[in-house]
C-alpha cells in the first residue's frame, strides 16, 4: 500500500518520513525545505509485515496550490489516489493546520491525523483532546513526536487498518462556482469558522497566543532591521573566525602533515619513474590532498551553521532580510535558497520553486549562487591563509559581498525588466528557541564531510589527473621539458583566457586554467593551483599558511596581495559549476534567462575583480595596475550590452501590453 504524508510546511513530515524509512533526507526548522516528492518503503517494524511505501510530499496550506511545490502535493493526493493519507498536523498551531485537514478529508481517501510536536505542547501546557477531535473529524487522531519517534507505530498501524476503506468527510464544501473569487473566499471563511469552532472545543491553552513571551522579546531584538543585521554580521564573523582562523587550521595542520608525509612517501617509492611520480604524487595525491587539507575548516563551519539553524536563529535571519529582498524586487522567500546556497548551489536553485512569482523565482535562481557555497570554502581559506594571515574578515567579506551583489543584481534585473515594486507577503513561522542538538550538528557536519570526500575522490581526482597530464604533455604528446612549460597542452589552452584577465591582475595561464577547471567543481581551483605550482611545497603545515609570505608566493604565482583578492573574488562571483548551471536551466525554463544569468555572473565576477585590482593597486602603489584602459573598455561594453537588452525587453513589453498598438495591428 501507498501512504502519503501531507501537511502544512514545517509540520515535521520529512522528520517522520526519515524515522519510518531510515532515510536521511534534508530537514529544517523552517517551511520549504522539501520541494520535491520522495518515496521509500516503510521499515517492517512499523508496518507489522504489510508492504507499505511512504510518500513524503512538500508542505501545503491548502489544496489550492500557490507555488509549484504545493501543486505537487495537491496533484498527488487528488490524482494518484494513495491508499491512505497521514496528515501531519502541527499540534502547536492547530487552527491553521486543520484547514488543510478538512480539505483532505473530503477526498474520500482514508486519513490518519498525526498531532505532531506533542512534546512542545506538553512543555507549554497546551492540552488537546485527541479523542474528541477524532470523533469530530471521523478519522483516527494520534499524538506524535516525530523527532523522538513517539507514536509513529500507532500512526502506521491505523493507516494500514484503514486500507481499502472510505473516508467520511466532517465538512463538505458547498457546490459553488469555483471561478467566482468572492464565492471561493466566502466558502474558505466558512471553513475557517468551522475549524475555529473545532479547535475551541478540543484545545485548552495555558499560554494565550496574544501574550508577550520571553521569546517574543528576543525576537524583537534579533529581527530588528538594524540591530538584527549587526548581530547577523557579528555571528557570521564568529563562525568564520572559529572555523577558518582558530579551530579549523588547528585541526587542518595535523591532517595536512599526514597528507604531505604520504605524498613524499609515494614520490620516494616512484623515484625510478619520474613521469609516474609526477602524475601520482603531484597530480593525484598533491591535487586531491590540497583540497582534502581544507576538510576540517569545512566541517567546523557546517557544524556551527547547523547549531545556528537548530537553535532557531537562522529563521530569524530570514525575517531580517525579508524587507530588503522585497525592496530590491525579490521575494521574501528568496532568503531560503540563499541560506541553502551556503551549502550547495544546486539545492539552493531548486529551492527557488517555492517562490510563486515567475520573475522573482528566475531572478533568485540567477543570483543565489553569489553566496559562496561549500565548494568555495577551500578557495577562500587558501587565499585567506596565504595572503592575509588566515584573517576571518576575508570570509566574512566574501559572504557579505555576495549578499550585496545579490541585492545589486536584483536591482539590475528589476531595472532591465521594467519591473515595478509589488507588495508581496512572506509568512514564515519562527521555530521555538531551543538548545541546539549537538547530535544534529554532528550529523549535518558528517554528511558534509562525506560529500566533500566523495567529490574529492571522484570529480576532483579525475580533473587533477587530466590537468596534470595536460600540463605534462605538449600537443605532440611528448613530455614537456623543464623551462618549456608554456608549450604544454594546458598552457596553450589557458593562455588566450589569461590574456583577457590581465586587467584583473592575474594574467598567468596557470591561474586561468585553475579558474576554468573551477567550472567543473569549484574545489578544482585549489587542486589545479596545487598541480600547476606544486603548491603543497609552499604550505607550512604548522600554520597552514604559505611559507615565505606573500612576496615569495607572488613571485611563484605572479600575484600581489591585491590581485590575489581580485582572483579570489573572480572565482567566487563568476558562474558556478556546471551542475548548478544545469539546475538554473531546469528551474528557469527559459534560454533567454539562462544566458542572461551566465552573462550577468561573468560580468559581475570580471567587474568586481577589475575594481578590486585597479583601485586596490591605485591605493597601495599610487598608480593603476596594467590593463586599466582595456579593462575599462571591456566593462563599458558590458554596460552597453545590458542597456541594449533592457531596451529590447522594454520595447517587447510595450508591444505586448499596449492595447492601442494591438488594436492597430489587428486592423492592419
Amino acid at each position: 500500500m501507498r501512504i502519503a504524508f501531507a501537511g502544512n510546511p514545517n509540520s515535521g513530515k520529512t522528520t517522520m518520513y526519515n524515522a519510518l524509512t531510515g532515510r536521511s533526507e534534508k530537514v529544517g526548522n523552517w517551511g520549504g525545505v522539501t520541494v520535491g516528492m520522495k518515496e521509500y518503503p516503510i521499515k517492517a517494524e512499523y508496518t507489522g509485515g504489510t508492504e507499505a511505501i511512504a510518500v513524503d510530499l512538500p508542505g501545503a496550506y491548502s489544496m489550492s496550490p500557490f507555488t509549484p511545490e504545493e501543486g505537487i502535493t495537491s496533484e498527488y493526493v487528488r490524482d494518484e489516489h494513495p491508499d491512505a493519507i497521514v496528515n501531519i498536523v502541527d499540534a502547536t498551531n492547530l487552527s491553521r493546520s486543520l484547514f488543510f485537514t478538512t480539505q483532505l478529508l473530503e477526498l474520500g481517501i482514508p486519513v490518519v491525523v498525526a498531532l505532531n510536536k506533542d512534546d512542545i505542547n506538553e512543555k507549554e501546557g497546551t492540552k488537546i483532546d485527541e479523542k474528541a477531535l477524532s470523533q469530530k473529524l471521523n478519522c483516527p487522531v494520534i499524538k506524535t513526536t516525530a523527532i523522538e519517534q513517539k507514536g509513529l507505530k500507532d500512526v502506521i498501524a491505523a493507516a494500514v487498518e484503514l486500507n481499502g476503506k472510505n473516508q467520511k468527510a466532517p465538512y463538505l464544501q458547498a457546490d459553488i462556482d469555483l471561478h467566482d473569487k468572492n464565492a471561493v473566499d466566502a466558502e474558505d471563511r466558512k471553513r475557517f469558522d468551522y475549524v475555529n469552532g473545532l479547535v475551541k472545543d478540543v484545545e485548552v491553552r495555558a499560554v494565550k497566543s496574544s501574550e508577550t513571551t520571553k521569546s517574543d522579546k528576543v525576537d524583537a531584538i534579533l529581527t530588528n532591521p538594524i540591530i538584527g543585521i549587526i548581530i547577523f554580521a557579528a555571528v557570521m564573523f564568529g563562525v568564520f573566525w572559529v572555523s577558518q582562523t582558530w579551530l579549523g587550521p588547528l585541526v587542518a595542520d595535523w591532517l595536512v602533515g599526514y597528507i604531505e608525509m604520504f605524498q613524499e612517501w609515494v614520490a620516494s617509492q616512484l623515484e625510478a619513474t619520474p613521469l609516474l611520480s609526477t602524475i601520482i604524487a603531484d597530480g593525484i595525491v598533491g591535487g586531491v590532498g590540497a583540497v582534502v587539507g581544507f576538510l576540517p575548516l569545512v566541517m567546523i563551519m557546517y557544524f556551527l551553521i547547523a547549531l545556528l539553524e537548530d537553535c532557531g536563529y537562522m529563521a530569524r535571519v530570514s525575517a531580517v532580510m525579508d524587507p530588503i529582498f522585497k525592496r530590491v524586487g525579490l521575494s521574501g522567500k528568496s532568503v531560503i535558497p540563499i541560506i541553502i546556497g551556503t551549502g550547495c548551489g544546486v539545492p539552493a536553485i531548486m529551492a527557488c520553486r517555492t517562490i510563486r512569482d515567475e520573475r522573482e523565482r528566475r531572478a533568485t535562481a540567477m543570483l543565489t549562487t553569489f553566496i559562496p557555497c561549500g565548494a568555495k570554502i577551500p578557495v577562500i581559506a587558501l587565499f585567506a591563509g596565504a595572503f592575509f594571515n588566515g584573517a576571518a574578515w576575508v570570509s566574512t567579506i566574501s559572504y557579505f559581498l555576495g549578499l550585496a551583489l545579490i541585492f545589486l543584481g536584483a536591482l539590475l534585473v528589476k531595472a532591465v525588466t521594467g519591473y515595478k515594486y509589488r507588495k508581496s507577503f512572506f509568512i514564515m513561522e519562527f521555530p521555538k528557541y531551543k538548545a541546539p542538538s549537538l547530535g544534529f550538528a554532528f550529523k549535518s557536519m558528517m554528511e558534509r564531510a562525506k560529500a566533500y570526500i566523495v567529490k574529492a575522490a571522484t570529480i576532483i581526482l579525475i580533473c587533477n589527473l587530466v590537468v596534470q597530464l595536460m600540463q605534462t604533455y605538449n600537443w605532440q604528446f611528448q613530455v614537456v621539458e623543464e623551462g618549456m612549460e608554456n608549450t604544454s597542452i594546458l598552457a596553450t589552452i589557458a593562455s588566450p583566457f589569461a590574456f583577457l584577465l590581465i586587467p584583473l591582475g592575474f594574467g598567468a595561464w596557470q591561474l586561468a586554467a585553475a579558474a576554468i577547471t573551477g567550472f567543473i567543481a569549484k574545489e578544482n581551483v585549489v587542486g589545479t593551483l596545487a598541480v600547476c605550482y606544486g603548491l603543497t611545497s609552499f604550505i607550512d603545515t604548522e600554520e597552514l599558511a604559505l611559507t615565505g609570505g606573500a612576496n615569495q608566493v607572488a613571485a611563484a604565482m605572479g600575484l600581489t596581495t591585491v590581485s590575489a583578492l581580485a582572483y579570489l573574488f573572480f572565482n567566487l562571483y563568476t558562474p558556478p559549476c556546471f551542475a548548478a548551471i544545469g539546475s538554473m536551466n531546469s528551474e528557469m525554463k527559459s534560454r533567454g534567462w539562462l544566458w542572461s544569468a551566465i552573462g550577468l555572473q561573468l560580468c559581475t565576477g570580471y567587474s568586481v575583480a577589475f575594481l578590486v585590482n585597479q583601485f586596490g593597486t591605485l591605493f597601495t602603489t599610487g598608480s593603476f595596475a596594467p590593463g586599466f584602459i582595456p579593462g575599462l573598455i571591456a566593462i563599458a561594453l558590458m554596460v552597453l550590452v545590458v542597456v541594449l537588452i533592457s531596451r529590447k525587453i522594454r520595447a517587447h513589453f510595450d508591444e505586448e501590453y499596449s492595447l492601442h498598438q494591438a488594436a492597430k495591428a489587428s486592423k492592419a
Binding site: 520535491g36 518515496e39 551549502g343 539545492p347 570529480i459 581526482l461
Partner: protein
Amino acid sequence: MTINTVIAVIALVLIVFFAIRYIWKEKKRGTKCIGCPVAGNCHDYEGCGTSRTPHKRVEKMTFGE
C-alpha cells in the same frame, strides 16, 4: 620495471576506474551534484517523472532495503 611501478600503475588504473564508474552511476541515477548531501531534494518536478509517474518508479523498488 620495478615492483613499485607495477603496483603504482595498477593502483592508478583502479582508482581512476572506480572514480569514473562512480560518476557514471551517479549521473545515470540523475544526481545533479555528485556528493551533495541534499541531492535527494533535487527532483525535477516536470522533467524526471517523480511527480508524473510515481507508481512506475516505485514498482521497481525492492522491499526490506
